[in-house]
Amino acid sequence: MTVPPLTRRAVYEQKQRRRAMVIATVSTTIALVAVVVLIPLTPGWEKVKKSFFDADIFVESFPGLLDAFLLDLKILFVSTPLILIVALLIALARGARRPAMFPLKAFAVIYTDVLRGIPVILLVFLIGFGVPALGLSRELSNPVIWGTVTLVLSYSAYVSEVMRAGIDSVHESQRAAARSLGMTGHQTMSAVVLPQAFRRIVPPLMNSFVSLQKDVALVSLIGPVEILRQAGIDKAKTANFTPYVAAAVIFLALTIPFTRLADWALARQRRRTGATTIA
């Protein structure tokens, strides 16, 4: 059996990789040492350490926070598909060309303009306190429901604009090719335009999703005990900020893997369609 000889480029790249690895390791070590050694030398460090990084309080509050975080996850998993569906409908309504669709189109324009223009936090207050004040039945007065609705309204307005940009970015010639096969407008949209549009908008959608993961915490402003509120309660109880740090760690445990996953999916997608990345 013969081992294939290394090509010139392979040898070169191997050398480059080793070099890069060494540099990365050395610089990371230096940076870490600097952080670990220098920060404790600051005058307020002892106080900060006690009130933000108290190990006992961390361990003590962690399970409760994790429990409260389940509500965040629930809101997240209910609102995400709803946001995508509503955003798609709004994006399609905005692109409608038939005159009978005019009222829908106008509605879509107003919807995106108004809802994108109001800060999420304000919308949470307005809807979260406003709608239950209408005196609805007990189940319908649940702030979790209205918090979720708010997130869906606000994010769908934003995401629909992202989708519309994605749809517009698919070249007219793709439509022409599909229509020339006899495909209807709807078939063209669903089989040809949307799949291409979605691939292009994956990165901005991922960004929105990461923002949404964090904005779920705003729902706490109208009552529900989710993680941010739970951390506030723990903080008041212990007179220590460590629960907030613990909450931040829990958020990161969700957002970081997700961001990595998104990058990986995108890179795989690129490879599959054969596009090479240019250095």
Binding site: A176, A177, R179, M183, Q196, G274
Partner: protein, 256 residues
């Protein structure tokens, strides 16, 4: 209401006074053209003379402003007519291929029959594979369009159209985007189609090919068919001074 043309039986396509303008610019200025079943018609003319627009009007990708286009005797230029049933009977191939980049080559070919004709996915894919094999692309069936050469992509685009079993093929400068050494493989496919009796209407800058394969050549100038005749006459003995001048320019550019 659709009107019937008197000579419907013999002609596949019959254009009568077809007029089309973009805003104030007239692009087709009264086109009269007959395409008999099995005929191959070449459209030649300077850039901007309206060749692409004429083809797109036949496929109803552009609405016609005035005049009539009879397809099997039925006026398809009728405003408000549902274009989809017409388009599925007419194949079109574009200069820029316009393959669907998110689908494999086989799926590109299978999508039309699946969506439009309601053929099952597995049937459409095996038919598609057969069509690709016929065009010498069987081995690349699982590739994605941007992994193929231009010539291969254009052959896939032809296969995609043929998969719909069209009665007429419209070809819009299908070799213009190709490197010279890839032109031949695409033209071979078109030769095969002519042998099989396909009715074709094509715009081209490949004069030698137009001369070789067409039954009739039409010279377009400013949205009108200025001269029309058998290829030997048009290329060998053009009557109109403008045709002469155009062919002279092409010859000078080394394309004849």
């Amino acid at each position: 209401m659709t009107s019937e043309s008197p000579t419907a039986a013999v002609l596949k396509i019959q254009m009568r006074g077809v007029y089309k303008a973009f805003d104030a610019t007239t692009v087709l200025d009264g086109i009269n053209l007959d395409v008999a079943t099995g005929n191959v018609i070449a459209l030649i003319g300077a850039s901007g003379s309206g060749k692409s627009t004429l083809l797109r009007c036949v496929n109803l990708l552009e609405p016609v402003d005035d005049g009539e286009i009879f397809f099997d005797g039925v006026d398809i230029a009728e405003p408000g007519l549902d274009p989809d049933p017409i388009r599925r009977r007419i194949g079109m191939v574009f200069q820029s291929f316009n393959l669907f980049p998110h689908m494999s080559v086989t799926d590109n070919v299978a999508i039309g029959p699946r969506k439009v004709l309601g053929v099952s996915k597995s049937q459409a894919r095996s038919d598609g594979l057969e069509m690709l094999t016929r065009l010498g692309l069987g081995e690349r069936a699982d590739a994605y369009p941007d992994q193929l050469s231009g010539g291969q992509q254009q052959r896939v685009a032809i296969a995609r159209s043929l998969a719909m079993n069209p009665e007429v093929m419209l070809l819009d400068e299908i070799t213009s985007a190709l490197d010279p050494e890839l032109v031949g493989e695409v033209l071979d496919v078109i030769r095969g189609l002519k042998e099989a009796g396909m009715t074709m209407l094509f715009a081209t800058h490949e004069m030698a090919f137009a001369r070789e394969i067409s039954d009739t050549v039409c010279f377009l100038h400013k949205g009108r068919i200025l001269e029309e005749g058998p290829p030997d006459q048009i290329f060998g003995d053009p009557r109109e001074p403008r045709t002469k001048a155009f062919l002279q320019r092409v010859t000078d550019a080394g394309r004849l």
